[in-house]
Subunit: 225 residues, 2 copies
């Protein structure tokens, strides 16, 4: 893996996939769809020479990826310095049961974004905080926005979607060796589904507040994971 | 984050959680339960000074974590050298809709394991390959095991569960500020469920093979993600 420039296509030496290149997806729309479906990103931080991976809530905002966290977080303080990072986002779609153990696998979509985070401040920070909530809780427009104190306790960082790659495996059927196809055994694909369960209203909702799930939440898209 | 020894408890300076320490779980059973539920681990690799995070299928084998991949994979070749790594495993359980944007959050379970992978060889490798399949496809005992050539193309690495931490958030109700509780708005918890969909038999199953989903697969535990 060698150094490359940072073109908008996302296809640079750093993000070329060497193994199974047929699984690489060059479509920016596929990146956006994955980032908009996933709820958590795994973010690499190298701190005093040691690698750490921290799971963070995130949101895509056009051509950048936003994360937020406490200003007291060590990982955020290190990331805010603009060190190199890698963000990995993965959604699992199915388990593939082949006739052979070797060809058994998972269907998945996975993105890698390389670069360095930069701190988001001022009005852009207010916009980013709003957008992070809007992505997590689509249509929920009744919440109290952050107070000045709450915003001050929150660090917001942005990473450009410049160097990225998407890998996906979406086998409709196991890719078995021809010599295994006639084995008298079951083979197939078992989908893994990510759906919303029944919302539980807070037990301390004041009298007079409708406990029924709001329409906006009933309308949340399925498949987020 | 500073260097620590590697006691079996997993409680070392490297894995002490500084933010929100009340969310830290010290129970080894909680680590095992999370690792046994999750299907993918996010593994840090530092290659020529740059951090990468790669999603890998994995399995817990007692006090170690096993991963496997192609011997041609650059990430596997680097990890096999015994460099420091961090493995992150996260399962999302719910979205928490608070009265305030600030207190909205996710319920999750997340593990971090620090250390260095070592190559698994010989009979132990055969055992590890068997176990990786058994964890992914519980009860599926009819598959052709790896040929000598397939096993030779596969690299198996193990990481001791020595330095680890588990964080979990499992709010039954949003943790709002007292001054927000009387707001006349809905608040609550929306569970995110991970379930198996309807298995699709391979279209090329030979005549005479029952297309119905085998009992072992119908019995797969829910909640894997």
């Amino acid at each position: 893996v060698t150094q490359g420039d940072t073109p908008s296509t996302g296809s640079t030496p750093n993000t070329q996939i060497r193994r199974l290149p047929e699984r690489q997806v060059h479509d920016r729309a596929a990146l956006d769809a994955l980032l908009d479906a996933a709820l958590v990103a795994q973010v690499a931080v190298v701190d005093e020479g040691r690698p750490y991976v921290v799971p963070l809530a995130f949101a895509r905002d056009g051509d950048r990826l936003l994360v937020h966290g406490s200003t007291a977080s060590r990982a955020f303080r290190v990331l805010a310095q603009g060190v190199r990072t890698c963000v990995s986002v993965t959604v699992l779609d199915a388990v593939v049961v082949a006739r052979s153990q070797f060809h058994s696998s998972m269907n998945y979509r996975s993105a890698m974004v390389l670069g360095a985070f930069a701190q988001v401040v001022g009005e852009d920070k207010d916009h980013a905080l709003h957008l992070l909530t809007a992505r997590l809780l689509p249509g929920v427009d009744w919440q109290r926005p952050p107070s000045r104190k709450e915003a001050a306790q929150t660090s917001v960082l942005a990473l450009a979607l410049a160097q990225w790659s998407v890998k996906a495996s979406a086998e409709d059927s196991p890719q078995d060796d021809p010599s295994d196809i006639d084995a008298p055994v079951w083979a197939g694909v078992v989908p893994l589904t990510h759906t919303w369960g029944s919302p539980r209203p807070a037990p301390d909702l004041p009298a007079g507040v409708d406990r029924a799930t709001p329409r906006a939440i009933l309308d949340w898209p399925q498949g987020r994971a």
